[in-house]
């Protein structure tokens, strides 16, 4: 799934939630972050929830093409390792 918005925040999180639920039916949950350059805490929560759900279903969860800006944001929230795994640190 490719996200087409640049900025994801609390106003998007509900529709994003629905998209993630749909995505969870796929074999692997791979989210393309190419376009994204900003996220907020509610989105991070949603991503963490998706990650947890995927893990619960023994499915792969992956964020791809995460920009440096977003990586910085993840770091500032101390969720980079959780969401991206240690290789991105």
């Amino acid at each position: 799934m490719k996200i087409d918005k640049n900025e994801l925040n609390i106003y998007d999180v509900e529709s994003l939630h629905q998209q993630m639920i749909a995505e969870l039916k796929e074999i692997a949950i791979i989210i393309d972050f190419t376009n994204v350059n900003k996220v907020d805490a509610s989105v991070i929560q949603l991503l963490l929830s998706t990650y947890k759900s995927a893990k619960g279903l023994s499915k792969e969860f992956k964020l791809t093409n995460v920009s440096d800006e977003v990586l910085d944001i993840f770091r500032s929230y101390f969720c980079d390792t959780l969401l991206l795994g240690s290789k991105n640190e």
Binding site: E14, M20, A41, S42, Q45, S49, T50, S53, S76, C79
Partner: protein
């Protein structure tokens, strides 16, 4: 409850009572060092002893309260009214914590909430600079406390509504880098649900942070200033194992402990090592700190099992009886030396007796001061303004009596405020002061202790009571009752369940129990009331219970004891009086009518051997009566012995005593005799 636990409980209760008294004193007459000392001591002592038992919740709470009090004592923090109110709340809360700890129960939600609220409040009042200088934290703290930099542990969880604040967590987190050095941060995702139950607009995130800084507690708290309502926040020194344990307990479900261990948090490493040490140190702390304490104990007191005193009183009683025999024997033998010794012995015994009785006597003020708190609380609850005063708090009364009378008094005070005193606005309309006045007066009177509760409220609704009593079949319609008799109806059990008459229902509820309690102490209660002006409850209680000064008289073949303190005078019933009587049982005593009670008739005694008759004038409350007897013998130290079941139903007898000759004398129950005579007159 084992012995140590019981001691702890009693001690905690006592300390908290001191604390409450001190707070009330300061509420009334301003802040003073001695009272602050009492607050500090209470928290400190409870913390120390609770530590020995491993009551962590109690230790934790009192520790924080103590820290703040220490600052107050050192003059770094000003104790204002708001803080006094909060400490009153903290006092109740501490007792609750102690109760729960002893019962081995964990804190329920409301208690936890209150606990957090109070702790947060105490923290917020701490001064910036001195936070790490409190003596006990220093003991608990490790070497880090000696340097200015402190390793803090900060923990927070977003509450559901967090995102509505619009605040950015990353921003909050970045502030820590400004204040000091962030050692460790870990995001707690345990509360984030899976997608199916996730509410994307709710806050779930949490963080645990270890952070080294010179910043104070308040500085750190300030970071969260705008979101403080929307997060659960804990800030404490990383070496404060008590706090850490509380935190771990609180977030048990999150497996916080494992998370902190896997992230190598410093605090966790110390926890296990410190576990034993903390308890030990707290223990040492209490014992070693005491001698250094600046403030001296106000007075030294000894805790003695009351049964030991009872035993002493019993033994003295036996000695009094034995001594009476010696006197008698000396009289019979006409032995002057023996007689003199016996008299000296009598005096000495009396002194010892008074001394022992005094051990049991306590100033009622110590115990009754708690009513101030109750009045304060009740008044607040019913939105009334009350000026409550205790007069005669230095009056002494048997401790047991004080304890037993407390509940009835509390009940009556509550009623006075709730139902007696009008709402402030109504009072103003009536031309009264907005502030209602309730007075509790205690004074000794003729061998009794009188306790009065007076209020300036609306008075008792006489008509309603009467209607209700008739409706309930307590009295017959058309029966003529005096005002006092009507008021006394509120003590009847039948009236207490009055539901329809809402206005008086409160006054009725439990009043029968109040009366029963008072009567079980051989006391009486009377009511007076004026419409619109207020009501007055008068309780009379006997002064002492085991040995009294009696006056020995004889009527017919039997000897009787009249409690000396109720006696006003003795007169000889001579011919002048007898002619005045015209066969009625009244005499004219200095122009006032005095009803007489003929003991010989009352107890169906055989005819008197002597022709002389005497009258002993007794007074109880406002009633006077003459007791017609044959002979007067004089003062006698009387040991009250209970009489058997046979005498239980005989009105007017409160017990018996053994005379020196081995004879039995009957002790009069003067209030009952007077009541009987008054009833007789009415007929």
């Amino acid at each position: 409850m084992n012995k140590e636990l019981k001691l702890f409980y009693e001690d905690a209760q006592e300390q908290l009572t001191f604390m409450e008294d001190a707070l009330i004193t300061m509420q009334e007459s301003g802040v003073e060092d001695e009272s602050i000392g009492a607050l500090f001591r209470a928290m400190h002592t409870i913390k120390g002893t609770a530590g020995m038992f491993g009551f962590d919740d109690v230790v934790h709470f009192t520790h924080i309260a103590e820290n703040l009090l220490s600052e107050v004592r050192d003059g770094n923090v000003k104790l204002d009214d708001d803080m006094i109110d909060t400490f009153l709340e903290a006092k109740d809360h501490s007792l609750n914590l102690v109760d729960l700890a002893i019962e081995n129960e964990s804190l329920d939600e409301p208690t936890k909430e209150l606990n957090d609220k109070l702790i947060k409040y105490f923290h917020s009042k701490m001064p910036n600079a001195n936070i790490n200088k409190t003596e006990d934290t220093q003991v608990l703290a490790n070497n880090t406390a000696e340097t200015a930099e402190i390793l803090w542990h900060i923990s927070f969880r977003l509450k559901t509504n967090f995102f509505k604040t619009g605040m950015d967590i990353a921003n909050l987190l970045s502030f820590f880098n400004i204040l000091g050095k962030v050692d460790k941060v870990v995001l707690v995702d345990a509360n984030i649900p899976t997608l199916d139950t996730l509410k994307p607009l709710d806050g779930y995130l949490g963080y645990e942070i270890e952070f080294t800084s010179e910043a104070s507690y308040a500085d750190i708290e300030e970071i969260f200033e705008f979101v403080i309502e929307d997060i659960e926040l804990h800030i404490f020194k990383a070496n404060d194992t008590d706090m850490l344990k509380t935190l771990l307990e609180k977030y048990k479900d999150e497996n916080l402990k494992d998370l902190l261990i896997s992230n190598d948090f410093t605090a966790l490493k110390k926890l296990d090592a410190d576990k034993k040490v903390v308890v030990k140190k707290t223990k040492e702390n209490t014992s070693s700190k005491k001698p250094q304490k600046k403030e001296k104990e106000k007075s030294f007191s000894l805790r003695v099992d009351s049964s030991k005193i009872d035993q002493l009183i019993n033994q003295i009683s036996e000695m009094v009886i034995e001594n009476a025999r010696i006197s008698q024997r000396a009289d019979n033998l006409d032995d002057t030396d023996l007689n003199e010794s016996a008299i000296i012995m009598t005096d000495m015994l009396e002194e010892i007796r008074t001394g022992i009785m005094n051990i049991r006597m306590v100033q009622v003020g110590d115990s009754f001061n708690k009513f101030k708190r109750i009045v304060h609380d009740v008044a607040k609850k019913v939105h009334k303004e009350i000026n409550f005063e205790i007069i005669g708090g230095d009056t002494e009364l048997d401790k047991m009596v004080v304890e037993k009378i407390s509940d009835p008094l509390m009940h009556m005070l509550r009623n006075s405020i709730d139902h007696g005193i009008e709402m402030p606005d109504d009072r103003e309309k009536l031309g009264k002061s907005r502030v209602g006045k309730v007075t509790l007066t205690i004074y000794p009177d003729a061998g009794t202790i009188v306790i009065e509760i007076r209020d300036d409220g609306k008075g008792l609704p006489k008509d309603k009571i009467l209607t209700k009593a008739i409706a309930n079949g307590l009295i017959k319609d058309g029966k003529n009752l005096s005002d006092k008799e009507i008021y006394a109806l509120i003590f009847e059990a039948g009236l207490s369940t009055a539901e329809e008459v809402s206005d008086i229902s409160g006054r009725g509820v439990g009043m029968d129990v109040v009366k029963r309690n008072i009567e079980s102490l051989r006391g009486t209660v009377e009511i007076d009331s004026r419409d619109g002006e207020g009501s007055l409850f008068v309780i009379r209680l006997p002064l002492t219970l085991a040995i009294i000064d009696g006056f020995l008289v004889q009527s017919g073949d039997t000897k009787y004891i009249i409690p000396l303190e109720m006696i006003q005078e003795c007169i000889e019933l001579d011919a002048t009086y007898k002619t005045q009587m015209h066969g009625n049982e009244f005499i004219n005593l200095r122009d006032s009518m005095l009803p007489l009670l003929n003991i010989r008739e009352y107890f169906n005694e055989s005819k008197s051997k002597t022709t002389r008759e005497n009258v002993v004038v007794v007074r109880y409350g406002e009633h006077k009566m003459g007791i017609k007897v044959d002979e007067l013998f004089g003062e006698f130290q009387t040991v009250i012995k209970p009489l058997g079941k046979v005498f239980k139903k005989v009105p007017g007898i409160s017990g018996g005593t053994i005379l020196g000759s081995g004879e039995i004398a009957i002790i009069f129950d003067i209030p009952k005799l007077i009541a009987h005579r008054l009833k007789d007159i009415k007929k």
